[in-house]
Structures are given as C-alpha cells and as structure tokens.
C-alpha cells in the first residue's frame, strides 16, 4: 500500500466543496444532533468509552487536557440575549399585579461585537448575529439553564487535519470518514493542532499499562485495537459497527438498511437527540433532516430559503464542511 496509493485515494475522495467530492462515496455517514432534546446527561460519552476501548487516564492527566473522551459534552454558560422579561425586580410590579404585564419581547437583540472574528460572522449573516449572544445576560442567574453541546469528530469533507499529516496517516475513506491509521501515525500531532474543534486525542502514555487492571481488560472490545503511546486517535463514527453492518449486507447481497445499526452514542442516547445514518441514501432519517433544515453538504455558506430553520454546522465558516448537523436549542421567552 504505497503512499502514492493513499494520495490517489485521498484526492479521489477528498475533493473540494466546489467539486462535490462526496458524489463518489459509497456511503457517507452523517449525524444530526438535536439540541432541543439533548439534556447533557453524558450517556453518549460513557457509551463511547465502553465501545471504543478508551482509556481512563486519571485526575492528573485530565488536568493536563489528556483525557481521551472522543465524545465530550461541552457546557457553556453564556446565553443569547433572550431576556423573557426584565430579570431585575420590576419597578412596575404594582401595574403587573393589576393585570398589566409588560409586553413580551420576541425580538432578539444583536449583542455580538461585530469586530469579533469577522470571518465567522459571515457564516449565518445577519441571522447569525441576531442569534448568538456574547458573555451571557446581565441577569444574576443562569436564567436559561445551560447550553449543552455533544462534540464528536465532525468527519469534515474538507478536513483540516488531513492535508497536514506528514505521513498520510489520516485520510479520507470512501465512506466520507476522516480515518486515522494507527500503524502509520508517527505522532507529529500536526492534525490535532489543525483541528478547529479540538477533537483529536493523542496517546501521551501507554495507557494500557494501567488503564485496565485485571480483570477490567476483559471488557475491551476485540473489534478494534488498543492504541499505544505516540499515536493520535479520534472518533471513528464506530467504524467497527459500520464494518459489521456493511459486511453483513454484502454477505446477504443487499444494501445497508437505514436504522439497521447505529453508533454507540446514538444507540444509547436517552432522549433520542442523536441521529445517525447514510447521507447517500435519500430516504435515511439523517438525509431527511438535513434537507428539511435546508443545510447542504459542500457549502461554506448556506443559502436557506427559510432562515428560521434550526440546522447549522459548528464553525462552518471555516470551510471544513462537517458531516454533523446541529439543530439549535430552543427556549421559551
């Protein structure tokens, strides 16, 4: 398997957004994360530990940002400016008691400093600026709860991690995944530096030495390897499950059926906030959701007919073309 071969495949599948490279894909696995349903409970993250032989690194190494949580739930405290009513004690409370509540605010105020990351602002145009708050409300409390965001490898089509690998250990598969070949990896960590989502995880240590004291190691999943020191790793969209499903379909001379299998995180999600499937299959649930929300692959800027639809991709303006669609969180105001 020559480097040449890798590069050929790479350029074959990793085509620029303009060329619509994904048309050649056999499958293209994608995901949808509905933040209206996500409760931030962490079930997906632990399911990922269980499925993918992720080592537990301990408190000290967690403190050095060496935790190997391929799927993490980010929790942000800032809130968009959606103040339902003035959150400070109202001066005209007497008027309220008499049955004259203040008018409901439905207009969202732009609160984004326009000088901040100008490139990103273009992503959603005015819509984006309207929706995104900066630094929370003036309220004394966390009025709208928390903002939870499950982050797994976004499996970008125009992945920033791929072109920087000096040994072509990270490459694009015919399924549209960013794959990491552990045997090829030399641990330069360029890919991780280049990932805007910080979703690549480096084995700084030989975790197998102490992460699975006997008999904990009996839980390890034989369908994928245990990675050693000096190797980069990341979410694979449970490629071992994809492989089983594809092999099974092939043995039965049929196509993979939507919903026949899913990744560990999707399968366990207690609220069903995560959806997984093949975007090359127009009838799959993910395809339907992407098209309902008028988000298209291969674009750096969406031109939605209905600007109110919730679908967006995280940091889409960076031209990464991710395979994970997020649906905005919803709050009553």
């Amino acid at each position: 398997m020559s480097l040449n071969n890798i590069l050929t495949n790479w350029s074959r599948y990793r085509k620029g957004a303009e060329e619509g490279g994904f048309h050649e894909y056999e499958h293209q696995w994608g995901m949808v994360v509905d933040l209206n349903k996500c409760i931030g409970c962490n079930a997906c993250s632990v399911a990922c530990y269980a499925e993918n032989n992720l080592p537990v690194v301990g408190e000290k190494r967690c403190g050095k940002n060496q935790a190997m949580n391929w799927l993490r739930i980010e929790r942000y405290w800032d809130e968009p400016d959606l103040e339902p009513y003035n959150a400070t004690p109202s001066a005209n409370i007497d008027a309220w008691i008499e049955g004259n509540p203040p008018a409901k605010k439905t207009e969202l105020k732009p609160s984004m400093p326009s000088s901040y990351l100008p490139g990103l602002l273009e992503e959603g145009g005015q819509n984006f600026e309207q929706r995104v708050g900066f630094g929370g409300t003036k309220s004394e409390f966390q009025d709208f709860g928390a903002s939870f965001l499950p982050m797994m490898c976004q499996q970008c089509h125009a992945a920033t991690c791929e072109p920087v690998c000096p040994v072509a250990a990270t490459y694009h598969t015919p399924d549209g995944l960013n794959a990491q070949v552990y045997n090829r990896c030399i641990g330069s960590r360029y890919c991780s530096n280049n990932c805007p989502y910080r979703l690549r995880y480096f084995n700084f240590w030989s975790y197998y030495e102490d992460a699975w004291p006997e008999p904990l190691h009996m839980q390890l999943n034989p369908d994928l390897s245990v990675r050693d020191k000096g190797v980069m790793e990341k979410c694979t969209f449970c490629i071992q499950r994809i492989r089983v499903a594809k092999d099974k379909a092939k043995m039965e001379d049929r196509k993979v059926i939507d919903g026949e299998f899913s990744t560990a995180c999707v399968q366990t999600c207690p609220t069903g906030a995560l959806v997984f499937g093949d975007m090359q299959n127009p009838d799959s649930q993910v395809s339907k959701l992407w098209s309902y929300h008028q988000v298209e692959r291969g674009k750096t800027k969406q031109s939605k007919q209905n600007k109110e639809l919730r679908g967006y991709r995280v940091l889409e303006g960076l031209n990464t073309d991710p395979s994970v669609l997020y649906l905005e969180r919803v709050r009553e105001v």
């Binding site: 933040l35 209206n36 800032d78 109202s90 929706r131 409390f141 709208f144 910080r198 207690p270």
Partner: protein, 742 residues
C-alpha cells in the same frame, strides 16, 4: 439492533472460550502480542451451542442494577465475555436507551477490587475464610439452634423487588422478624408520603408528554431521580410534538434537569412551598369559580400568600412569580413536581403538600397526574425507602435492640451523617453480615462478608421503582460465567437461608435458578401469552427479558391536608448546604467505576474529585475564585474542597456533590474527595421522620490553598462563536412543531 436474539435455554452451560486466533484481539496488550508460531494457545469449545459463532457477538437480555429504576438491558457477549450494555427496546421503562450508569455496569462486574472470598472477623480483623467456615459461622449465629429471637434480627437493604423480595420477606417471616429496613439516600420518600396522603397513591404516574408545561421544584426528572432514562424519553416527547412543553425549574442549585430549563429560577432553600402557594394565589386571581371550588382552609391558606409577601420570603422576584403563573394559566394541563430540594427540610412534607395543592388548583390531577394502580403481582413490586430507616437502624443499634443484621444493596456506614454516630452504634450489634460485590465501608466494618455475584453474573427478577403505564417484570440473567468461583448468587443464598430454617415451600428447589423457573411456570396463562409450554415460555421470557403484566386499576382521590410553614427568618450570616446528587456517582455507589469518575459532572464539568459550588456574589464576598480550597463547616464537622463559581446557584447556598469521600471501596474511590453527607445536621422532616438532607447550615472559610480545578472543559463561554445556537420557541413552533420532522 440487538443482533442475534437467541432463544437460550441454559446459558450457564455453554459459556466457555472459543478457540480462535483473532478473537481476543482488542484485549491484548500491544507489547506482549506475538505472531510467532506456537507461542499462543487456541482452545475450542468442548461442545458449542449451535448459535455460538466465534468472532460474532450475541446479545442477551437482562436487567440493569445500577439504580432502582430497573431498566432492561441487552448485554453483548463474545467468546464468553460480556463487553457492552445496550438498552432493551422491549422494556417499557427505558425503551432501548441507557444512561451512563447503565453503560458502566460492566466496570462493576469486572472491577479489579471485587470481593472474591468470604471474610470473617477474627480477633478484630477481617480474614478470608472458606464458604464452609463462613456458612458455619452464619449457622451458629442465626440458625435454628442459635436461639436468636426473631425481633432481634433484621435485614437492612436498598430497594428490593421481584423474587428476591419475595424470598427476603419469606426469610424474615421464617426468622419471626418484622425488621426490614430499606434505605436509599436518593429517594422521593417525602413526596411519596404526600402523594399517599393527598392522592391515595404513593407513586402516581406522570404523563409528561400530555403536559404543556412542567414546573419542577428541584425534581431532577432526567438526572438523579426516580427513573432517569424513562423520564428522559418522556422529556423528549414533551419537548417536541404539536405544542413544545415549557420547563420551569425552581431550585437552590442547578440540577441536570435545571440545565435544560426554559426558565431557571434560584430560590431560597426551604421556601418552595411558599412559592407554590404564591403561584396558586396568582393563578386564582380573578378566577372566582375556581376559588369557590376550593375548601375553605385552602382558600384561606392561599390567600395569605400574595406575590409581594412571597417574593420577600422566597427571594424570587415578583415578575418571575407572575410570569410563571401566567404561563401555567396559558398552558393547561401542566405538571408540578417536587424534588429532593423541597423534601429535604424540617417542613419538607408541608412544602411538598403545598406543591400538590398547586397541582389541584391547576386541575392537573387526572390529566397529567394519573393513577398508577398496582400490578397483578403486588408482592413483586419495588419496596423502596428513604433515610428514615437509616435513623431507625442507628436508634435500634443504640438501644442494643438487635443481635444480627444482614446488609445488602446499601452502604449505611458511608451514607450516614457523622452526627448519627452510626459507626459506633453498630458496634452494639454483635453480628453484622454483609452480602456485597465490592468492599464498601459497611462490608469492611462487618463481622461476616459474603461475596455475591455481580449483576451480570446472577439471576433475578425486578420491577422498577417507577412503573409506566405498561407494568412489567424485568428478568436478570447471567451474561457470563462467574469470574470468581468463590462468589455466590444472592438468590441462591436467600434460598439456602430459607432451607436452613426448614421452610417447606422452598425445600424442593436445588437453586435459585430452579426456583425462578418454577415460579415462571406457575404464572397465570394471561401472562404467558402464546407460549406452547412452560419451557417455551421460559425461553421466550429470557429472550425478551421483560414480562408485561396486567394492571389493577387505581384511582386518585385528591384530599387536602393541613399545611403550615415555620417562620422564615432572613439570616445572611451563614449558608445552606446542598449535598447535591449527580447522575453518575449517584449516592456514592458508583465511585468505584473509573468511567464514571472520569465522566465529568454535567453541570460543573469537574472530574475525579469533589468541589464546592457557589454563586459569583458569594465568591466575591468570600474573596475566593475557582480552584481555591475552602473549608465548609457545620456544627457536625467540616469538609474541604475546591471552589467552582457559576450563576446556577442561589447566593445563600453552598453545594457539595455526593459520591466521593470514600474510606474504602477500592482503588478508584478510596480517599478521593469529600463526603458532604458526613457533615449533615441530624434534623428530620417533622411529619415523615426522613432526614432533612438540605437542612444543614454551614460557614465557609478560605483555607489559603489553591490548585487548578480539574474540569473536562475548555472555555466556559462560546467566545462569540456559534457553538450552541438558540432559537425562541415561537420559531420552533413555526418551523417544526406539529410537522413531526424527526
């Protein structure tokens, strides 16, 4: 999704190692792998079942035992090892889903610190002994010849249900004892008492999807609550569909459920009942018909709590109170629920009752609060408890009223506040026997420790503590051969205890498996469905993992109780301590599971340790910031941990999470963090006698030390990037709502 569903007969008989080269690949340690011929061994089955294919995983149904919810699971088994848990889609409780605790069940099973041999206290220290010696010691102390009086014997357990519960009750009867203490630190005992008194049923059914609004007073429905996975699924339905439900959460410290609230309201601890009455007052303003329908005493009670008075007591601003009332009026039916932060006060019962009054005023009873009824098998239903029995045990031990106590599924030495003096009082019980999987604090202070099979090795049947509309019995079956030959099944031990007491009914059963099989054969035809024989029914039951059983209809009869509150004094000098519960470590029972230690707390994102939550205003007052160590002191003791500052907490509240601070419990738990339960004041709810977990006052002082607080979180804010976008519900209703796009 569950791959090969197998109609398995005697699973235990076929477990073994397949002899295939690459099968155990993932388990090898990279440095020791060899490809050299003749170095490694392959061993085939002596005789495989027809469905066992080396290299192919099979799934078996069982029941999760990580909390009392009783979710159905599918365990993935390959080459005789259980690898992964998934939810069982046939379970009406969790419908194919699972939480992080369920996922981590395998780490309890494969835990490196499991108890492997019986231990007997000899000359002050526990020493490993053989089962013969252990059982002989047991026979000597509790056998018919021991002369042990029935009332001097007790069982102390966590929630029990199913056939274990039946056997346990039979054993108590055989011993002539009525002493069954049931203890859960995370419980809804006070709310259950209120439900029983006001509705006639302790645990009615909540129809979350039917509610257009949920007003939760500290009820962590999707977190550390009665049935987290079930309510998470219900929550998703509540949030989608034609009318997106609105969630308002009122509590002193943000719970996981609070994190998803449309409106999160901080409240002065203990004043939730007052707020409920204040909201009722607002709801009733101008609605004379409704007011006229209420009993006189309730009318008077509600009338006393106008919005200004309530605002001054609760610290919730008047416009918030009116906003909530307005939403409730617009969104009927709604559902108002009370949780741990309401229950955990000396007047917890009164507050929870006031919250139920609000439900009655809103007309929710019969619409979103429905009669649960009982199943056709009441003797199998979950027996659950709270902290009252913990106090009762301490009291009985203090009075030297017990000679022998059997412990199972509870760790009172860890969960009891230091003020109870339980560790000392337990010394008055001459013979304490612990049936345990892991070396917890209670086991290590016992006189006899009997190592039992893990949940993934044992047989059993369970009924979840909360039963949805479709009531079910969930079957627990071994997912693999036992890891340690010197461990025994809990059911087998119960059966042996019954036989030792010569209880005729149980003499014919060789083991618990045989007993269960027989019990299944004896079930009525209505449960057996289309099974053609007992053997067929048994096979089908194991394959499905869940037996749906009929419901005996119940009815709710709303009734008022007397409600009165103590005088709420404003005292800014000290703080309320909130010993918060988290979905993950739970009440501390999962602190020995490394995945759950490394899974961050959902709200603070802290891993592996304890922390002290406070409001920015409080932190400013104390002159501390994140990472500073502070000493949190009550009259009963002090704990020291690092500060975490955020706005999801009332400024008068200091929260320290439960779960850490173990003195025993294996390498992952021992000596890590602090246990806030230890410094709780021994105050109780006046009506129910439950410990008032939120009723402790503390002072906070800097201890001068500072370290980086270890969190799995980069920035606390989005730095202006669109990481999490938010839209208003009106936008959602326009674009999706009833269109049912997902």
């Amino acid at each position: 999704m569950s791959g090969n569903d197998i109609n398995r007969r005697d699973f235990l008989k076929i477990l073994g190692w397949s002899g295939v080269g690459v099968a155990v690949a993932g388990c090898d340690r990279p440095t020791t792998v060899t490809l050299e011929e003749g170095k490694e061994e392959v061993v085939a089955y002596l005789q495989p079942e027809e469905y066992v294919i080396p290299g192919v995983g099979v799934w078996f149904a069982s029941t999760c035992q990580q909390c009392p919810a009783g979710c159905g699971v599918h365990g993935r088994v390959r080459e005789g090892r259980v690898l992964k848990m998934e939810g069982n889609p046939d379970s009406p409780i969790n419908k194919g889903k699972l939480c992080q605790m369920g996922q981590a069940g395998v780490q309890g099973h494969y835990n490196p610190d499991r108890l492997k041999k019986p231990m007997l206290r000899k000359g002050g220290a526990l020493a490993e002994v053989s089962w013969e010696e252990a059982l002989a010691a047991l026979e000597q102390k509790v056998g018919p010849a021991s002369g042990l009086a029935g009332d001097r014997f007790a069982w102390f357990t966590g929630t029990v249900s199913g056939h274990q519960s039946v056997l346990l009750s039979a054993h108590l009867a055989a011993m002539g004892s009525k002493n069954h203490f049931i203890h859960e630190t995370i419980n809804n005992a006070v709310a259950r008492a209120v439900n029983q008194d006001m509705l006639g049923e302790a645990m009615p059914r909540y129809d979350l999807p039917a509610a257009k609004m949920v007003l939760s007073f500290g009820a962590d429905l999707v977190g550390a609550g009665t049935s987290p996975v079930h309510f998470s699924g219900e929550y998703a339905k509540f949030r989608t569909g034609a009318t997106r439900g609105v969630l308002v959460q009122v509590e002193p410290k943000m719970t996981l459920t609070g994190g998803s609230a449309d409106l999160w309201v901080a409240i002065r601890p203990g004043t939730e009942g007052v707020l409920a009455l204040g909201i009722a007052n607002q709801v009733l303003l101008g609605d004379e018909i409704k007011v006229a329908g209420l009993p006189e005493n309730i009318r008077t009670l509600i009338a006393a709590y106008d919005v200004k008075k309530v605002a001054s007591i609760t610290g919730v601003t008047g416009d918030r109170i009116m906003r909530i009332a307005e939403l409730l009026k617009q969104r009927s039916p709604s559902l108002v629920v009370a949780g741990a932060s309401v229950e955990g006060h000396t007047h917890g019962y009164q507050s929870a009752a006031a919250i139920m009054v609000l439900n009655i005023v809103l007309g929710n009873v019969g619409k979103t609060i429905l009669p649960s009824g009982s199943s056709a098998f009441p003797q199998m239903e979950a027996k659950t408890g709270g902290t009252r029995d913990l106090l009762a045990l301490a009291d009985a031990a203090d009075k030297k009223a017990l000679d022998v106590v059997f412990f199972h599924g509870a760790n009172p030495v860890y969960t009891a506040p230091a003020a109870l003096g339980l560790t000392d009082k337990l010394k008055n019980i001459p013979f304490k026997v612990v049936f345990a999987v892991h070396p917890d604090e209670t086991a290590m202070s016992a006189d006899l420790v009997l190592p039992i099979l893990s949940a993934h090795e044992d047989w059993g049947t369970h009924m979840g503590a909360y039963q949805p509309e479709q009531k079910s019995i969930s079957i627990q079956q071994p997912l693999m051969e036992r890891l340690y030959p010197d461990t025994k099944g809990f059911g087998d031990l119960l059966l042996a205890l019954l036989k030792a007491r010569q209880v005729k009914e149980y003499e014919s059963f060789a083991d618990y498996y045989g007993y269960l099989k027989n019990a299944f054969a004896a079930l009525p035809a209505s449960v057996k469905g289309d099974a053609v024989s007992d053997e067929d029914f048994w096979g089908k039951s194991l394959q499905k993992g869940v037996l749906n059983v009929g419901t005996v209809a119940g009815a709710l009869n709303p009734k008022m109780v007397e409600i009165s509150f103590p005088e709420f004094k404003s005292d800014a000098q000290d703080y309320y301590l909130v010993p918060s519960a988290r979905l993950g470590l739970w009440d501390g029972r999962h602190a020995n599971l490394p995945w759950l230690q490394e899974a961050p707390d959902q709200i603070s994102k802290v891993v592996w340790t304890s922390w002290v939550e406070m409001h920015p205003a409080t932190a400013a007052k104390l002159g501390v910031k994140e990472g500073d160590f502070v000493k949190v002191s009550s009259a009963q003791g002090a704990v020291e941990a690092q500060v975490y500052v955020y706005k999801g907490i009332h400024p008068q509240v200091i929260a320290v999470p439960m779960g850490q601070g173990h003195e025993e419990y294996g390498r992952y738990a021992k000596g890590r963090g602090v246990n806030p339960l230890k410094i709780l004041a021994p105050v109780t709810d006046a009506k129910t006698g439950e410990l008032a977990l939120y009723g402790t006052r503390v002072t906070v002082a800097q201890s001068g030390r500072r370290e980086v607080l270890v969190k799995l979180m980069g920035s606390e804010t989005q730095l202006g990037r669109k990481m999490v976008g938010t839209v208003t519900a009106s936008v959602f209703d326009r674009t999706e709502g009833a269109k049912n796009v997902t």
